[in-house]
Symmetry: C2
Subunit: 188 residues, 2 copies
């Protein structure tokens, strides 16, 4: 089985390398040759692992749609505490698990412009907003969150997180923000 395992490991190595480069420079500025050189391997060999550049991209997006995007919500803890904790863990991943962090940023990039249409559609199908809408409504009922359109609030919340994480991604020196700042957007 060593042979198959090797291949799978190599595949993962390529995926992780590509993820980093896509996040750092964007999809189109990252050439297949760049990915191959960074792994490292020859350009041609990369095509033994992936059909095409877009195939590689799509694999990454698939990983992203499954990943640990949402920690299970436990009804016992208040919504604000839950969101704060979630942000806390995501931000700390920036240092400890660059992979998770990069994937989060990557998925945000894919959902917006600058990548092939199909990737965007796939990314859009994994929806982080809906669960948050419920959470926000609960918080509003409990009086800890402000009044307002819960859907818009949820989208703004995640859009903010996305924006901040892209900023952190662009400048690794940047100090990690206090999750409370962001949750404050929602507080009554």
């Amino acid at each position: 089985m060593t042979r198959k395992e090797q291949k799978e490991e190599r595949r993962q190595a390529i995926l992780m390398t590509a993820l980093t480069l896509f996040v750092e420079r964007g999809y189109y500025d990252t050439k297949i040759a760049d990915i191959a050189a960074a792994v490292p391997m020859s350009t041609g060999l990369l095509f033994h692992y992936f059909e095409s550049k877009e195939d590689l991209l799509l694999e990454l997006v698939k990983m992203g749609t499954q990943g640990p995007g949402s920690v299970a919500y436990d009804d016992k803890i208040p919504p604000d505490v839950y969101l704060t904790k979630f942000l806390d863990s995501i931000f700390s991943f920036a240092k400890e698990q660059p992979w998770v962090f990069n994937m989060f940023v990557f998925m945000g990039l894919v959902r917006r412009v600058g990548m092939p249409e199909e990737a965007r559609r796939l990314a859009l199908s994994a929806d982080a907003v809906t669960p948050t809408v419920k959470l926000i409504k609960k918080g509003q009922k409990d009086g800890i969150f402000r009044k307002g359109n819960a859907d818009t609030m949820a989208r703004c919340f995640w859009a903010s997180v996305q924006g901040i994480m892209e900023e952190m991604s662009a400048d690794k020196e940047m100090k990690t923000p206090d999750p409370e700042w962001i949750v404050s957007m929602l507080r009554a």
Copy 2:
């Protein structure tokens, strides 16, 4: 002078068309032929107005670095009121002056990934954060803003705004958020 004026108008038309397409689909997914067709004009003619695709991009970035990014700050009004007003006007531009709105989103895209390196450098040179840092420090002294690293706070503030505006740009149906939500990030 009609001749020169015509030319200048045509130039502007191309720039505005390109801006819209770049924001909608991204730089690399927008082909010169797409821009030309949308203006409309022939592909070749576009090169009488701009040296190259990148030249066109750079012109847009230059416009963006000058534009009305920052309304002059008047010491008399409190920082929180100022920022709220600023967001209010930017958000309302979404409907009234799509141009301003698009430019704002565009500059954010350029600063991050997905466009040629030189454009990014140019965009990065126009710094929106520094003035806001001062504003935040003032607010902290006045006790209306929370404690914390003012630089990080300013960057998070703008990153949030950027994220939200990209979200609005991607979905024109989205309800405009209440500026107060975002300013709440900063409040004590």
